[in-house]
């Protein structure tokens, strides 16, 4: 199949999880014998072949707001798509998230190729409600992406229900395809435990954008409760975003400044080492359509303490690969962390089960097969 992927981010440009998802899916489909072309945003107009994938980066002038920039970029994406259509036909046009919907919908109009939209998350849940004109436009584009698409893919069951409920998309058009993980990549990390904690300390990791949606505030509120009972715990709060300073100050204000380290954004290779060096990974998210961090941690053999929301409900099996806790509840988060690290033998057993689950249930080959089934359905 000749597949055109449209995505606003693609490695090495990474902000959220979409870039990694599109790259890993594309690489796997390519290995299965399909030709993948990606059109994405970039700092300048350029084309390259990256790990067998043809990547075209377009550039648009930034404006005073993200939506005008995204829409300008979509015009350039559409133009690049038309240029490519002069040389070849695409069997599938696959848009990832609202930011690629206008270009995908236009290209669908001028080709016979079906359009697939993957919604990785929804604006109404990311920001809590539709409270501004910008949020309304993003929400409208998410609806438009679901409406125009021949088939819609979601990464979790909760988000699938949200789409069904809010966008009135026919159920038979919706497909739940989870994220995947290259488990081998996460098994191979080196332990850097002595670099991140003292020898008597037990490191616990948070990874993600430091923002409201990820529940960082509730984790920081849980920290003194954990440290009261387990002073040996050391928190590593890894991730970028505008909130680093804010949350560092918050940790200071609850008196855990020396027990919470904020290294900022951590590149992939160091992240793998971190997963392999901690006793637990904590995901206190309020909203998490999938939550790739859980899979990565499990693949490294590290138990996950995660909120009972979205994709974490499916990836983490309570008291088998980690623990579920109540979202936005510091007492529950503290309980989960304490329990996960209290018995070293049980901690290892949870990690072992998680690794097996990641290797069996969440391979990219399985994800690619499920995605191909959706493509086949769209092609009739």
């Amino acid at each position: 199949m000749e597949i055109l992927m449209l995505t606003w981010e693609y490695p090495p440009n990474k902000v959220g999880g979409v870039a990694a998802h599109v790259e890993d899916l594309s690489k796997t489909l390519n290995r299965m014998g399909h030709d993948i072309t990606v059109i994405t945003f970039g700092q300048e107009e350029e084309s390259e072949v990256r790990d067998g994938i043809e990547v075209h980066r377009i550039n648009a002038k930034e404006g005073p707001d993200i939506t005008s920039w995204v829409l300008m970029s979509n015009h350039r994406m559409q133009k690049k798509g038309v240029e490519l259509l002069k040389e070849r036909d695409f069997d599938i046009i696959h848009a990832h998230d609202w930011s690629a919907v206008p270009a995908a919908a236009s290209l669908k109009e001028v080709t016979d190729a079906p359009m697939i939209t993957t919604l990785h998350s929804l604006e109404r849940s990311r920001v809590g409600s539709i409270h501004s004109d910008m949020s309304k436009l993003i929400n409208d584009l998410e609806w438009y992406g679901a409406y125009e698409a021949d088939e819609v893919i979601t990464v979790g069951e909760d988000i699938e229900n949200e789409i069904l409920h809010h966008f009135s998309v026919p159920g038979e058009k919706l497909h739940h395809v989870p994220n995947g993980v290259f488990a081998d990549k996460f098994k191979k990390g080196d332990s850097i435990r002595d670099e991140i904690a003292l020898d008597w300390e037990r490191p616990v990791l948070f990874v993600g954008r430091l923002c409201h949606q990820k529940g960082v505030r509730h984790l920081i509120e849980a920290m003194p409760k954990v440290l009261d009972k387990k002073p040996e715990v050391k928190f590593i709060v890894a991730g970028g975003g505008g909130g680093v300073e804010h949350y560092r100050n918050m940790a200071e204000s609850v008196g855990v400044g020396d027990k919470a380290h904020f290294p900022g954004f951590v590149p992939d290779d160091q992240l793998i080492d971190l997963y392999n060096s901690v006793d637990a990974t904590v995901m206190p998210s309020i909203y998490e359509p999938f939550g790739i961090v859980a899979l990565e941690s499990m693949a490294a053999g590290t138990p996950v303490v995660g909120s009972y929301v979205g994709g974490i409900k499916q990836t983490v099996v309570h008291e088998w690969t980690g623990l579920h806790v109540e979202p936005a509840n510091p007492d529950s988060i503290a309980w989960g962390i304490e329990k996960a690290i209290s018995d070293p033998t049980w901690n290892k057993w949870l990690g072992k089960n998680g690794k097996k689950r990641a290797e069996k249930k969440f391979t990219w080959e399985r994800v690619a097969d499920m995605t191909l089934d959706v493509y086949e359905k769209a092609l009739g």
């Binding site: 707001d65 005008s68 300008m72 015009h75 133009k79 236009s106 004109d133």
Partner: protein, 222 residues
Amino acid sequence: MNVDSILMLTQRYNEGEKVSEYCQRLASCLEEHDIETHLICFGNEDRDEKVGSLNLHEFSFKMHGDNYFSWSMLLQSRFMEKIDHIVEEEDVQVIHANNWPTLPASLTASKLHEIPFVVTYHSVEEERGMNNPHSHQISDLEWEGIDEASFIVVHKEKTRDAMEVYDLPENKVKLFADENWEKSVLELYRRAVEVNTNLENMEKEAEDNHGNFNAYVGIPSE
């Protein structure tokens, strides 16, 4: 060069409004030369009907942008869809955009269908003062139009002067300030079609030569 059908685009068509009247006046002149004019625009309802000399194709669109610029960009998918339908049914020889809000779809459709496109700038952002939050993006689009159009039409010296900042390609911008500007635009259409046909012929010739490359460089066929 014979021209039979022109496709114009403007954001809205309202009788009495300046750009709408411009399209109507141009269509009326074209009609005298047996040239059909189609006009695509946004409106309150979907309708296809003859209005004066124009074949009007109005489309509705329910989404709202978070500002005028975003909304104008959102309209482009619908413009593209409409262009596609008309080009399928009519032998359109020139796409004629009016101002930046119809540029993205016009130039993309021009590439897709290999139809030359002409743009009229009734004014440009530089002339309007660059005091809109999205002025730099609008200006960027206007430059893209200048770069990709076969010809750019302006009707005021002020507009042409304001465009000097764009480092204009020679002979591409045409100032028609006289009373008979419609006939000048028609001549421009003919010229655009002629250039496009010549380019197509040159491309074909290059392809043919490439196909016979061996013979071309004196290698006997097997």
